[in-house]
C-alpha cells in the first residue's frame, strides 16, 4: 500500500476530474459558433473544371467560404492551397490581421478581445498536432484562456484549446501513467496496475475480516483491549 497508495489517489482524482467535466465542454465546443453562412452560387464564377484544368494534380477539392467569399481549398503535393472561386486567383497566405478576423468570426463571444497572436511554423506546443502546421495561434482574453489555431494555408479553424482542456490532458497523462505519448500500453502502468490489483485483493480480505459480523463477534470475545492498528 505504501508504494501504490499515492497512485490510487492520482487515479481517483484524475478519473473524477475527467468524468465530472463534460467532454464536449473540454473539447471547446461551446467556444465556437457553428452558424455557417451559405455559399451564394452566383458568386462562383470559377468552376471545378477550370480549377482541375489549371491544377491537374489537385486532390480533395472543396468549395467553401473564407469569411464571406467563396474559395476552393485543395491539396497540391501534400500542401493546402486556396484559390478564389470568384476569379481563380491564388489567395495569399493568411496574415496576422486576417487570422485575428477569422478567429473572432468563429468565436462564440462577439465582444472578445485578443491577448496574443503568434505564428507557429515548427515545434508545435503540446496541445497542437504537427500536421496542422503552419498555424496562427490566437489567444483570447477570456475566461479559461482559450486559444484558436488558424491554418496559415487554408484559413480554417483547426484546433481550439482552453485551460480545462489543458488540465484534462495532464489528468489523462497521469491516469495512464505516460507523460510523453499518452499511450495506455506502457510498462510503468502495467506494474502499477498489477500491484494495485493485488493490493485491492488484500484490501477486500481485510474488509471481510473487519466488517463481517461473525468475525467481529469473535474478535470482541477474544480481545477487550484496543487492537494494534488503532481501530
Amino acid at each position: 500500500m505504501l508504494f501504490i497508495g499515492l497512485q490510487f489517489v492520482v487515479w481517483s482524482v484524475s478519473g473524477a476530474y475527467m468524468v465530472i467535466m463534460d467532454i464536449d465542454y473540454i473539447h471547446g465546443d461551446s467556444l465556437v459558433t457553428n452558424e455557417k453562412q451559405n455559399i451564394v452560387p452566383e458568386q462562383v464564377k470559377y468552376s471545378f473544371t477550370d480549377l482541375l484544368t489549371r491544377y491537374p494534380q489537385a486532390e480533395n477539392i472543396e468549395l467553401g467560404l473564407l469569411l464571406t467569399k467563396p474559395v476552393y481549398r485543395f491539396d497540391l503535393k501534400k500542401q493546402k492551397r486556396m484559390v478564389s472561386a470568384g476569379d481563380g486567383q491564388q489567395l495569399p497566405k493568411i496574415n496576422i490581421a486576417m487570422a485575428i478576423k477569422l478567429a473572432k468570426h468563429h468565436y462564440a463571444n462577439r465582444q472578445v478581445e485578443i491577448s496574443k497572436a503568434q505564428l507557429i511554423t515548427e515545434k508545435p506546443p503540446r496541445e497542437l498536432s504537427a500536421r496542422y502546421l503552419p498555424v496562427w495561434r490566437i489567444d483570447f482574453d477570456d475566461f479559461s484562456s482559450p486559444s484558436f489555431y488558424i491554418s496559415v494555408n487554408s484559413g480554417q479553424l483547426v484546433t481550439k484549446r482552453h485551460s480545462f482542456w489543458r488540465i484534462f490532458d495532464w489528468m489523462f497523462a497521469f491516469h495512464v501513467m505516460d507523460y510523453i505519448d499518452e499511450e495506455a500500453d506502457n510498462r510503468l502502468l502495467l506494474i502499477a496496475s498489477t500491484l494495485a490489483l493485488l493490493a485491492s485483493i488484500f484490501g477486500l480480505v481485510l474488509t471481510y475480516f473487519r466488517l463481517a459480523p461473525k468475525y467481529n463477534k469473535k474478535q470482541n470475545h477474544q480481545l477487550n483491549k484496543p487492537n494494534k492498528a488503532g481501530c
Binding site: I39, E62, G64, A229, G230
Partner: protein, 255 residues
C-alpha cells in the same frame, strides 16, 4: 502521549477516517476491481486489433476527367436547400459533388448531404446495391456479404454516431461490419468482434452500463460514474492518510 498531541493538530479524527475507509471499501470494491481489471486489459490489449480494421483497405482514387465535369452552378440549382460546402469526392471510382447542407462540428454529429453525379449532374441516392459496393471497396477480406440494412442511431458499434448509416455485415471469422453514411456515402468505419470485445471493456471502465431504460452512450459523463468516482476519491484519500499514519508510527519495517 505523542500520538494524542498529534491528533489535536489534525482537522479530522483518525478513527473517523478509518471507519469511513472501511465502509467505503464495501461500497466501491466491485467497481474498483472492474476499473483495475479493465485498466489492466487496456494496458495489455492489442491496440491495433481493438480498432477493428483488420480487413480494411484504403481506396485508391482514379483520375477525374475535368472536361466531363458538369457545370457546378447547374448542379447546385438541383437543390433548394442551404449550401455550406461542396467537395469533389470519389465513390467507386466515379466523381461526385458532395453538397453539404448542414454540418455538425464533428463528422459524427448530425449532418445533411446530397450526392450529385459530377459527370451527369443527376442526384445519386445510395441504395443497398451502392452501399454493398462501397463496403466491398473498403474490404480486403474474401468473405461475402451476409446482411445489409439501414440503421438509425443509436448504433451499437458506433455509439456516438448521430447519422443514418448503412450497415454491411461480412460473413468472415471476425464478423466484420462496415458502416457507410447513408447520405454522403462516406466510409464511417469498420467494426469486428475484436473491437466489440475492447468496447465491452470500455463500457465497464466508463460505467456506461445500459441501466433501466437508458442504453450505453459511448461516453464517460454519466451520473453513476460521477457518484462512484467521488466515493473513490474519498476512499483513496482516507486510505492514504491511514497509510501515512502507519508509516509515521513505524509500522512499515524492512526486516
Amino acid at each position: 502521549m505523542r500520538e494524542a498531541k498529534k491528533k489535536t493538530t489534525l482537522p479530522f479524527k483518525l478513527s473517523t477516517i478509518k471507519l469511513l475507509h472501511k465502509w467505503l471499501s464495501l461500497l466501491v470494491f466491485i467497481q474498483l476491481f472492474i476499473w483495475l481489471g479493465s485498466g489492466l486489459f487496456f494496458n495489455l490489449m492489442d491496440h491495433s486489433k481493438a480498432r477493428g480494421n483488420q480487413h480494411r483497405q484504403s481506396i485508391v482514387p482514379v483520375a477525374i476527367d475535368a472536361q466531363r465535369l458538369s457545370d457546378i452552378n447547374t448542379s447546385l440549382s438541383i437543390t433548394s436547400e442551404p449550401l455550406k460546402e461542396v467537395s469533389l469526392v470519389q465513390r467507386l471510382g466515379h466523381p461526385y459533388y458532395l453538397i453539404t447542407h448542414d454540418k455538425g462540428l464533428y463528422r459524427h454529429f448530425k449532418s445533411h448531404f446530397s450526392l450529385v453525379d459530377a459527370y451527369s449532374g443527376v442526384i445519386k441516392i445510395i441504395d443497398n446495391e451502392m452501399a454493398a459496393a462501397l463496403a466491398k471497396e473498403s474490404y480486403s477480406g474474401s468473405a461475402e456479404i451476409s446482411h445489409l440494412k439501414k440503421v438509425e442511431p443509436p448504433i451499437e458499434d458506433f455509439l456516438k454516431e448521430k447519422n443514418i448509416l448503412w450497415q454491411v455485415d461480412f460473413d468472415d471469422e471476425l464478423n466484420t461490419s462496415v458502416y457507410i453514411n447513408a447520405s454522403s456515402g462516406r466510409l464511417v468505419g469498420h467494426s469486428n468482434d475484436d473491437k466489440r470485445f475492447a468496447d465491452f471493456f470500455f463500457m465497464l471502465h466508463f460505467m456506461d452500463y445500459p441501466l433501466t431504460g437508458n442504453a450505453s452512450v459511448g461516453g464517460f459523463n454519466n451520473w453513476q460514474i460521477i457518484f462512484f468516482a467521488l466515493l473513490t476519491v474519498v476512499f483513496c484519500l482516507t486510505g492514504l492518510i491511514w497509510t501515512l499514519e502507519l508509516l509515521i508510527k513505524g509500522r512499515y519495517k524492512i526486516k
